[in-house]
Amino acid sequence: MESSELNNNTNPQATSAPAEKGSSLWRDAWHRLQKNKMALLGLGVMVTMCIAAILTPWITVYGYEEQNLMLGASPPSAEHWLGTDTLGRDLLTRILYGSRISLAVGFIATAVALLIGVIYGTVAGYMGGRVDAAMMRFVDILYALPFMIFIILLMVIFGRNILLLFLAIGAVEWLTMARIVRGQVQSLRQQEFVEAAVSIGLGPWAIIRRHLIPNTLGPVIVYTTLTIPNVMLLESFLSFLGLGIQPPQSSWGLLISYGVETMEEYPWLLIFPGLALSITLFALNFLGDGLRDALDPRAAKD
């Protein structure tokens, strides 16, 4: 079972095992992720997009509301790489400005959903019994509220505010996350390693943090990568109804919905914003898949 060669190493300090920190799951995950080329590509694309979004005001030649009515909707050219829209605004500029809104909504709203959903779901699943029943009935009630009415109510009470948009979307998206996590935790809670943790004397919070949440990461990551594009489209829907951001500001969702209207005459107005969203979606999916595998120590080691 134990090879004698390894046991010769009697001085514990002398072992090279770099095992001082508790966060080894994450460090191991990072090592594994680095071996996954597609995931790294996805990560690279996402980082590039985020940097581009942040630097937009400095890297764009045109302003996002700078119109050139003489030009009208023109196809891609040397001056306007991705063409212009019906008002003669540079499409590349608008996509870049749009990415600031879309990515921010996507990430912040999803992060809100993730934070609330995972904690809420884990607590409900771990506590079980009446606490669980009460917590999940509350989720059911929120589910039953029509989404539009919920958002409009928020807007009426707190006024129109881009931060509120993030919060509102996040506040709706966490419901599904909570349900997924709760289901996972319920089955994990039956496992002996949780009992073992209790018998060591760990408190509920330590068990949730150290034993339960890390084991729910697989489905959570998959659902997260699905939520981000979902949220981006939700934003355009709200903006379309006049509840989100207002023209002349832009977001990918808005650009796409304008693009759809003029699809037959000016197809590039749909294609390029659509492409931007698709690339993000692909990148996120590869990254999410890679992360899920990387965070599961049982996944085959190469």
Binding site: M1, E2, S3, L6, N7, N9, P12, Q13, T15, A17, P18, A19, E20, G22, S24, L25, D28, G129, R130, A133, Q191, E192, F193, E195, A196, A197, V198, S199, I200, G201, L202, G203, A206, R210, H211, P214, N215, L295, D296, P297, R298, A300
Partner: protein, 549 residues
Amino acid sequence: MSENNKENILSVSDLSICFKTRNGSSKAVDDVSFEVARGETLAIVGESGSGKSVTCYSLLGLIPQPPGVIESGTAQFKTGAEKRDLLSSNKATLRSLLGDKIAVIFQDPMTCLNPYLTIGEQLIEPLCQHKNKTRTQARKRAIELLKEVGIDDAETRFGSYPHEFSGGMRQRVMIAMALITEPELLIADEPTTALDVTIQAQILDLLDDLKKQRNIALIFISHDLSVVANIADRVAVMRAGQIVETGETQQIFKRPQHPYTQQLLASVPSGPKPTQAFQPGPEEQPLLKVEHLKTVFEQGKSGFFAPRPAPTIAVNDVSFELRHHEILGLVGESGSGKSTLGRSVIQLIKPTSGSVQLDGQELTQLSPKQLKPLRQRMQMIFQDPYASLNPRMTVFDALAEPLLYHRIATRKNVTAQVLALMDDVGLAQADIRKYPHEFSGGQRQRIAIGRAIATKPELIIADEPVSALDVTIQAQILDLILRLVEQHNLSMLFISHDLSVVRYIADRVLVMHKGKLIESGDTETLWANPTETYTQALFAAVPQRINEK
């Protein structure tokens, strides 16, 4: 035993199977040859991963291909005047043989029966499929068979669903199902492993009777040598895909030739505890004192509005004492409440009433916060080393957690302590950064034991700590436990259904039946003359080693 007039119904020669994965190919079965005759029981014995199940399943076309590849070999199956090579037969031929001439009994009767169909429906299915019987004819035959395998009131039970049967009854149904087409070859894959020892004895008797009456050939796959000794005519011992030894049962058990067979036989715990160092002072205060402990489970979910069904009493008025430096065995069959008792003692389950005192301190009234410092002094080892370790924590994390949480170690010196602990339980220090799935079952149990002794507890509750392990590994872990108990001056409540294991390790034994403690005493005294009828039945049902017969 196998007289010359008996014809071989199945002869397998030079069978080799390998599994091709992307990490290369591994040989599961390596040049295996054996034969079975009518009216004969061949037992294939081996530890997990030895290829015993793969061998038999390959004959039935039940191994997944890919990744499995049958590299060579023939399996001549003789039925009537016909002779067929099972390995080169096509799927349709195999299907017509399987369930007709060849039948299989699987390990876990619950997962092999469809929960949505009545057992009658499932019983008559092969008759209608293979023998073109009408439903009425098939029903009549099925009821006869149910009676034959010992199911009372067969007409009514015909319409029952699998969950309405107990484990042993379900296995009887499985046997009836296997026999219904009058097969000539019966393959039983660990048919009694999931069953209690008294039920196991009944099922073994039943299989033996049926084999004799019907003159069928039985291939009995098992890891349990004592079971094999009782049922087999011949034994084939498998290790790492090869048959290392074949022979008459008597010969294998009395004069094993191959070193592995000898090791296997030596690993079976037998006889009394090797060291009887423990001599308790009578005046000494017991470490653990349990009085009138009762644990009741509410049935079903307690909803906001739903009325509650009658509760189950899992532990009923149990009192016992555990002295310092003593290993107290707790035996009983599944459902007897022994695990619940263990968990109630260590306050993983809140007992309903009664008292549990650790060194004079009452535990049942304490809040989780008050319990925390006491948790250091009592730990638990669980049955399934695959479930009791967090799959996302390395060995280091798992062992460091209790040390850091109870502030026994600081971040600075925790590594040294973890390494010392790994040394103590016989794990290689270089494995410190590995995850549980990279270890074998025995090594995992070592990690779990290391975690339990990390806080230097006085009391350890071990809930079936070796039941999930192979017999050679089991022997190693038992010796490890005995050594640690000695070294660290531990006291232990050792819960097990395996009587020979308990006899090997325990100083005193408690017998539990239906939630009640029915008998207790010093191990050897109890073994010599059990007083309660249930205890006697329990001991009688233990398959006897052949050399004790």
